[in-house]
Subunit: 384 residues, 2 copies
Amino acid sequence: MTRHCPNLLVVAAAATILLLNPAVQAQGFGGRGPRVVSPEVADGKVTFRILAPEAKAVQLSGSDIPGVGGGAELTKNDQGVWEASLDVAPGCYRYNFNVDGVSVIDPRNPATSESNANTWSLVAVPGADWMDTREVPHGAVAEVTYHSSSLNRFRRMHVYTPPGYENGEGRFPVFYLLHGASDSDNSWSTVGRAGFILDNLIATGKAKPMIVVMPAGHTGAFSFGGPRPTVDEFSEDFLKDIMPYVESHYRVHADRQHRALAGLSMGGGQTLNIGIPHLDQFAYLGVYSSGIFGIIPRPNGPAPQGPTFEEQHRAVLDNAALKPGLKLFWFATGKDDFLIETSRATVAMFKKHGFNVAFKETEGGHTWINWREYLNEFAPQLFQ
Amino acid sequence: MTRHCPNLLVVAAAATILLLNPAVQAQGFGGRGPRVVSPEVADGKVTFRILAPEAKAVQLSGSDIPGVGGGAELTKNDQGVWEASLDVAPGCYRYNFNVDGVSVIDPRNPATSESNANTWSLVAVPGADWMDTREVPHGAVAEVTYHSSSLNRFRRMHVYTPPGYENGEGRFPVFYLLHGASDSDNSWSTVGRAGFILDNLIATGKAKPMIVVMPAGHTGAFSFGGPRPTVDEFSEDFLKDIMPYVESHYRVHADRQHRALAGLSMGGGQTLNIGIPHLDQFAYLGVYSSGIFGIIPRPNGPAPQGPTFEEQHRAVLDNAALKPGLKLFWFATGKDDFLIETSRATVAMFKKHGFNVAFKETEGGHTWINWREYLNEFAPQLFQ
């Protein structure tokens, strides 16, 4: 017979169902083994834990976590739980464990962030108003499946719609925001906090409400030994499929003055590869921690072949009629970034051709810490 | 200098960036160690692989994969790659590896499916028209952050909008679809294929275009030893926050005839806990692999306390005026499901009170194989 307080019975039933699940048992739920909480965020520290009684060594890998770099050692307690407690600034961090050579996401953390060929565990450390989840109107971030005619397969993008869009009216500008090498269309809205950053900017009146489209910049799995594409597959997909899809499926203004394009690292290169030849279509270009790849010759690199970017696009670069419509051409790169010289040389080349380039050299390196800040600084300058 | 075919330079730069990443190195990218592909879907088989040269034993756990159950052994080749190749029917499957006692998602597979307290690797095996990603108009599945006044914190839900919604007009009916114990608001749209099932049903004219809201049914982390909630927190959140949010943020018809509520397992119990006391608000109720928890007394269970569900809700159960507006009251449970007797007893109780209940006893057990099929059968009966 069902008794008082049905939800308690639901919880009890849930417990039974869970305990029947061997995979759940193996993860240290229930009565078997110590209860493991990970990650635990408190007092400016994040404690990472994993139950691995048989392991010989466990390291933590985490982009952007101070002191971690390629791997911080965890220490094991007498219950077989490995642990490291680290000072971490407010932000959002990807991490993985390495258990005796095997890459392992945190078995006790459901939050993840996708790359192109793997997934990371994700921990958000609150404390920075501009990127925290705050009590302001929130937009929605949708996973959208489209069929790419240029690639002849299904592809995915993420689309941020501003607060009120789903029950509102009117057309919006569109900001296309590209990820970096090895990442995916999921990256900007997870570790990049793009939706929350836009929510906060819109709520404080700093940015115009806009649609942010986050496409998948890789057109295949990385394969260092494998064949490389012979055409610029992503540009094709972007111009023939992504932009037309967005402009036919969303209430957008489909003209130059309402289109922005930016990207980080590889996505910054793609921004230039797409944006410069089609400068008549974009009024705002952003290049984060990037530039024209190869503009700096490598000391012992292969001999350069074919025309340079500058040679290829000379007609656009020297077309004075296109420049007034480019409202913002914005670069930002950290002083410690391995691409700082690439950014500097790229900015210099565009200035030589009469472009009004804003270039901000920031602290820091090639990190999501910077990319979130660049987004937070770039988005308010759009569509004003 | 930048050369011919900028995208090749992007790829080369991306390779450099990737190789600088120690976590990537550890995962068997690049030149270090064998190249591992996992999962590999071909000829009705899925091959699962993981590089773990130091491991003593590796098992595969996977809900619904035939022959796997609590763990299928993988075998190691001379390069330290463990592998199992299994016959798998078309569908969508969660899996994890267990490496010497540590739960490990597939390090080479970016696709995941969230539960409440962990994440699974996910593999889709095409071959079933009704749930494949097909060349039909696709809806969007959004991650939506809302502030729950009843729980006093931010919560997340997933919302499917039908094809054309974002650039269209008009109001739509709403189907609230609840997950089971241990799962999350992400589960129905990943392993449950809810968006793709709806896309296919709508494209073939079998289902009406509708909005599908997938809330988070757990209000906290599971803790078997910890305190249990003293009020039905999810019902509060659903009625005071989720429904009002949806009805104010989406173009929906906010009346009984345009509201459906269904759930699987724990979510089926929640459907009854919410839907029966508020029967004036729902015209369609679905209970998948579930019923009233505790309606079957456990042989050695604790003595029942307090009023039964039937006693608690007698006024609604015997209110003849509410019944004509309940267009569909649909149960489905597998014959091998451990809750089959719970479903039978629940259906019998409702029939005793004059409800027109449809009850389908299907093959199979407490599996996503059944839940996807139940969704595919239930959704076409809504809002017709």
